[in-house]
Symmetry: C2
Subunit: 585 residues, 2 copies
């Protein structure tokens, strides 16, 4: 999981480094921690000198395997918790160690847990049930569709291991993990059985019992057997032991080594993306409508925020990054069906804006001013949808260079958003469109252009995205939702990013080659893009029209909602911010 | 190899199908042949009903492994010639067969060869030596550079298996295979030894002996041991048997199973691209200058051809696709250092132009007319370089739709050719630029946009290219040479393709993000693009300027050469075809 619960922060416990990515390895003589470029400074700062920081991505940094081979005495055993290592990673590491005469062994009890005396409890928070007006499809129909995919591939069992896939399948949400509305659970779906592995008295909640029809007389194939979270391994081993030849069990290749090993190798059917992952990515009409509603509410909150910021920052200069982030959360929480934020707000001004994964803390907290660019990347979970939006603005007079960079980023944003492309196109083929204007001037940004977005689920989800990294992304199809977020970062001075969440929709084209059909994007995010930051002369007429059409839509849709909510000051701000651009020919 | 010698056309011998791609499998009961979409019609036509055509890429077509498993009796052995199956393919197939209880076994003698009584001899044609004025670097310096790459990777031996890599390394060329100026040979390079495995009396040629310094007293590490082509396996086995732990042998992972197996697994160092492949792709100043000269001569030949075609086709209507192709070869052969064509000329008019890999034969041969689009994709091997150019033209009045499609293709061609991108960018990230204008109207083409081009070597070479297929391409760097050839094909009516060979060069940009530097392309091909086919109103001013600048350069550079060669009619044609476009604002 991208976000984890406090009880799973074992690397932070042992090393002190609490960034979102890193692996610690402890031997009798050494302790080393691998992390990537985002976290070199933070990790060096947080770890003491017992630890060696391994800077991933640098040429001279050994891989974990190579380092182990270099420090271990002959014939060593390397222990790993088999529940937290993906099967594919186990395989790679095990092979490398074996070829050097060592062994990778699964430990029965996680060694950190045995010494972490004040380890917090695994969260077990109440569940939220979602009826089909939110999800569009009942969990029963999702099970039916899943079983038909299983029949197609001739597998008898499907093991649901990703938390968001369990939540999606049963139309349930939780809050066991911050920002991701998921809950700790596994599920094993057979052709005639459904087993849900989940702890706590949350299954005693009458609403949940009713939702899952636990007390109804149901056809046996829809009867859910609720089992303890910890019994997944033994239950799966029992399934594995009972298989006949040609009976297969479907697992994600990212499932843990422990669960994968429970099924004998000959019976495993592993795929990079599960049928749930793919079905979940294509939003149905109810989910799309929910996402639209969520984005309208989110835009209302941001119009309030930006209006408030202009009134506070310009004359008073008392707003810090943290205050702005808190204010954004406050405005969002006033909206209907607000649940929580969808990730830690990136509220950054001036040089902090150039730190791509910045999160304001007291030591770095800067005050917003009329002299610096302000970048806000934030989003929320509403019961009807998940948002993620970035706007970059100046409260004074931006420099020509700042406007120039902003305009290139905007051109890239528009190039993706307005792109028309054939059905079957993978997202990575669109990534260069976002960079072309920057490249022309020798500029670039070192992150992908977009990620899949869940529907009241994880703000980052597979299997699609827009990135120069060619991973095994699935082709884009109508109903998928991704972000479009090119940027530019000038180290030590400022950051620019313009992010909308966009929906993949069919495009009307003049011709239709081989009847393939075409796709394009519709922005779900409807928040003004600061025209003060745009150098209009760098836009083509087409780009200029795109901005004006987009602002016209913001004015109509968000204006109506601001009006309805009686937020007149924010409405005045919206009207002012959506004045059409005029390009001098 | 993409092109093979007649003695290696075993699949054509056994099945009758002589396309450039296909695999035949014969069992006691069945015979099946797998090929791709380009060849479904041809294969069906050429094979008799003993054969089952397996249409690759269609959903219901089994893989070779699946088909074998479905037809073989239990515990079968599947034989394959280990010298013609790449090691990676062997591994995949062997694994699949083994898991179904069968065995993949290497056969000692190719079974086709035992029944192919009139099999032609393996060619053994004389060699051409290239001095450093062509190659820029002596073979000795190439060996030194290779050994330094070997030392970096801590390998003691390097096995050269690709024919173009052997030719490049020794600055030799041959004509054992049509279109590819290579010769049958292997080489094994040690830190102190050089073994060249090659047959025939071509090593008796004094020029070759002098070039390779076979009779000079040399430092032992540059002394070439010439050995029979057929002794490679036993020599490599001897190398393999003499290795101590940690001594490695470097092979391409595309080397044959036979040669790969000669080295015990623990001693193999396999990479997708060899250091020779990568060094060969980056052309030095002498090679670049040679390529420029070759493209100037090639343009002269095409100006002559197109001028001749206009004078023959328009009033007389007696020119067929084959006559045009022959005439193109005739004009090319008049140029200095012409060796042969670089591939079979695609000379196609009207509906034949929509067949992407068309080659005119008497049964399909159409007559060029004033009513149809003509597409010519052709190229040659000159001693100083390899060319590959496509031009699409109309000898009468093109329809508005034909012009529209041509203009979209041209916009795509320009988008790639004029693209500026950071150092380190892989070619596949540029592919969508070539399609964007077509996509906007719902059109596309089903092939990649560009391939690497050798320097008096194979017209298709790795490790770079421009394609939507994300293969393991190496980043583009200054000195690499690729083709830029988007197209559009209207089945049954016409084909459009505009292809230049372009050189990767450093680009000057306003800024220089992280000091990475930028790259762009310089067209080496300088042949007019027919302005009659362009709908100027669909071009931006920038695109219009690109065409005019390109034509200005054609006029200057090719004009001077036509003048020098006294080809005045062709010069008049060039002047007329390079009149600037005027865009109505």
């Amino acid at each position: 999981s991208e976000y984890i619960a406090p009880c799973d922060c074992r690397r932070a416990f042992i090393s002190g480094f609490d960034g979102s990515a890193g692996t610690a390895i402890v031997t009798e003589q050494h302790a080393a921690m691998w992390t990537d470029g985002r976290y070199f400074l933070q990790a060096a700062h947080q770890m003491d000198n017992n630890w060696t920081l391994m800077k991933m991505g640098l040429k001279d940094t050994p891989t974990q395997e190579d380092w182990l081979v270099s420090v271990l005495p002959e014939g060593s055993k390397v222990g790993v918790d088999p529940f937290i290592i993906p099967a594919d990673q186990w395989k790679r590491m095990s092979k490398a160690l074996r070829s050097a005469g060592h062994d990778l062994v699964p430990v029965k009890e996680n060694l950190i847990d045995t010494i972490w005396t004040d380890c917090p409890q695994r969260p077990c928070k109440p569940l939220i049930t979602l009826d089909p007006s939110y999800t569009g499809v009942s969990w029963r129909d999702k099970i039916v569709a899943l079983r038909s995919k299983m029949a197609e591939r001739k597998v008898l069992w499907f093991v649901v291991t990703a938390l968001d896939e369990v939540a999606w399948l049963f139309n349930l949400r939780g809050s066991d993990v911050e920002y991701n509305p998921v809950f700790f659970a596994y599920a094993v779906i057979g052709m005639n059985t459904i087993r849900l592995f989940i702890d706590g008295d949350r299954m005693m909640d009458p609403a949940v019992r009713e939702h899952l029809q636990l007390d109804s007389t149901l056809e046996p194939e829809f009867k859910i057997q609720v089992m303890p979270y910890g019994s997944i391994l033994s239950e799966l081993q029992a399934v594995g032991a009972g298989l006949s030849p040609k009976e297969k069990v479907w697992l994600s290749d990212k499932a843990s080594y422990a669960l994968t090993e429970a099924i004998p190798k000959a019976y495993r059917y592993l795929t990079p993306y599960t049928p749930i992952c793919i079905a979940k990515a294509v939003k149905n009409a109810s989910e799309t409508e929910g996402m639209r509603r969520a984005h309208i509410k989110d835009a209302v909150a941001l119009c309030e925020l930006f209006n408030w910021l202009e009134k506070e920052v310009v004359p008073k200069g008392t707003v810090t990054e943290i205050i702005a982030a808190d204010k954004a959360e406050e405005f969002r929480s006033q909206q209907k069906d607000f649940v929580e934020l969808s990730f830690a707000t990136i509220s950054s001004t001036g040089p902090n804006g150039a730190i791509i994964h910045y999160k304001p803390v007291p030591e770095t907290n800067r005050t917003l001013s009329v002299n610096e660019i302000y970048l806000l990347d934030s989003g929320a979970q509403y019961k009807d949808g998940t948002t993620d939006v970035t706007r970059t603005m100046h409260f004074g007079i931006p420099s020509a260079y700042e406007k120039e960079c902003f305009t290139y980023v905007l051109k890239g944003h528009i190039a993706v958003s307005a792109a028309i492309f054939p059905n079957g196109t993978k997202g990575h083929l669109l990534d260069s469109f976002a960079r072309s204007a920057l490249w022309d001037c020798g500029l670039d940004y070192l992150h992908g252009t977009g990620h899949g977005v869940g529907s009241f689920l994880n703000v980052h989800e597979g299997p699609c995205g827009i990135s120069y990294k060619t991973f095994a992304d699935e082709p884009l199809e109508a109903g998928m939702i991704v972000s479009d977020e090119p940027g530019y970062y000038e180290d030590g001075s400022f950051g620019v990013r313009i992010e909308n969440v966009v929906l993949v929709i069919p495009a009307e084209t003049k011709y239709n080659f081989k009847n393939r059909g075409s796709l394009t994007f519709e922005p779900l995010t409807l928040v003004p893009i600061q025209t003060k930051m745009i150098d209009v002369n760098l836009l083509t007429q087409k780009e200029c029209n795109w901005v004006n059409d987009y602002h016209q839509k913001c004015r109509e849709v968000i204006g109506a909602e601001l009006e309805r909510q009686g937020r007149h000051e924010a409405l005045r701000w919206l009207i002012q911010e959506t004045e059409p651009l005029v390009r001098v020919q």
